[in-house]
């Protein structure tokens, strides 16, 4: 849920990196943190176990660009990928504005990718959000590994819906396409935000009934 503050001239957006365990969500945030000027970002906060598995979430605040005099602030979160932490994922998804789904391209991770994607849909549905309505991009991560599935196959598994989303072949450990995916979701959510708040374009009253096609 974005918040516009006319006093501080700021708009806040929340982007969540979602995906199965060990797919590279935290690595995405660590790379972004390492490449953004410290003046434009806060600390990367990781609530992880001793073995560096995300226990609660990772969090990175970014002060992004100024549009029409308003500073846009993006708050990037990851969820814990392990199946048992579903309650935590639901919590992190609360008032989300955009999603980056990170899929692990390795053959043996396909079932986990599909399971995690279904879990994302279910958890959004609990907030009355449809995946078709929320800005979302897909990352096919770890493309540098030898045992990866072809992109066509990943598309068939994860991007086979009526509304297909933008996809990126990513190597999060080197940063390849990490910013491309982040910018894509940021653009999508800025457009959606602008559309949702355009009072002129919004119908004042909803039609009571819509005639069906003959």
């Amino acid at each position: 849920m974005s918040i516009i503050n006319y006093a501080s001239k700021e708009i806040q957006f929340k982007i969540v990196y979602y995906g199965p365990a060990l797919c590279g969500k935290t690595t995405n945030l660590a790379y972004i943190h390492s490449r953004i000027n410290p003046e434009n970002r806060g600390d990367l906060v990781s609530l992880a176990t001793a073995a560096d598995r995300t226990l609660f979430f990772d969090f990175l605040p970014l002060n992004a660009v100024v549009i029409k005099g308003f500073k846009t602030k993006f708050q990037l979160y990851t969820v814990p990928g392990q199946v048992i932490y579903n309650a935590t994922r639901q919590l992190v998804l609360r008032s989300v504005d955009g999603i980056v789904f990170v899929a692990d391209s390795q053959w043996e991770k396909m079932e986990e990718n599909v399971e995690s994607f279904r879990n994302l849909e279910e958890n959004l549905a609990k907030q009355n959000i449809s995946l078709d309505d929320i800005p979302c991009v897909l990352q096919y991560n770890k493309r540098d590994l030898p045992n990866v599935a072809p992109v066509n196959y990943l598309e068939f598994l994860l991007n086979n819906r009526k509304r297909r989303v933008q996809t990126y072949e990513v190597i999060s450990s080197t940063g390849k396409n990490v910013f491309a995916a982040l910018n894509a979701v940021a653009q999508l959510l800025l457009h959606k935000f602008s559309r949702d708040n355009d009072l002129a374009a919004r119908p004042q009253t909803q039609p009571v009934a819509v005639p069906s096609r003959p």
Binding site: I4, R35, G42, D43, R94, Q187, N197
Partner: protein, 154 residues
């Protein structure tokens, strides 16, 4: 979650008025109003000490994490949480179903005083936020060209 369409300068002044009065009476350092998703709604006090957005994200997580604990003893959720440090402490309390107020304070005051005044401040904030949620969205738009140029640089 009931969304807040926009915070106008007047809305922020109303919230800040409640927070300023609360900080003076409770002798606290900083108060931050957040939604339960971790977004900052408003803040007042000594802001140089810490990154408020990080405090907000962690506080929302901390509040939600204790919900299950509350349920185990027959509560829906805890209305207030207190984290005691050696010199600095944090007190958090519910404002309404969607909003939390965080107070940071030091040794110059006591948790009892903070807790006492936080109840009135939360009620005052709940009133302001209720009026705010009932208001019409004033509307806001970006130009497509502006959005196209808005890149997060790496």
């Amino acid at each position: 979650m009931d969304s807040i369409p926009a915070l106008t300068i007047e809305d922020v002044a109303n919230i800040d008025g409640v927070l300023q009065d609360y900080l003076q009476k409770s002798e606290s350092d900083l108060s931050v109003v957040i939604d339960k998703g971790g977004n900052v709604i408003s803040q007042y006090g000594d802001l140089d000490v810490m990154d408020v957005t990080i405090i907000a994200a962690l506080a929302a997580g901390s509040f939600a994490a204790t919900k299950e604990l509350a349920r185990r003893i027959g509560e829906v959720e805890f209305n207030a949480l207190y984290h005691q440090g050696n010199g600095s402490h944090i007190f958090m309390n519910s404002v309404d179903d969607d909003t939390i107020m965080i107070t940071v304070f030091g040794g110059q005051t006591t948790v009892g005083l903070v807790r006492f005044y936080s109840t009135g401040a939360a009620a005052g904030l709940a009133n302001v936020l209720r009026r705010l949620r009932d208001k019409n969205n004033p509307g806001f738009q970006f130009d497509k060209a502006d959005i196209a140029e808005a890149r997060i640089a790496g």
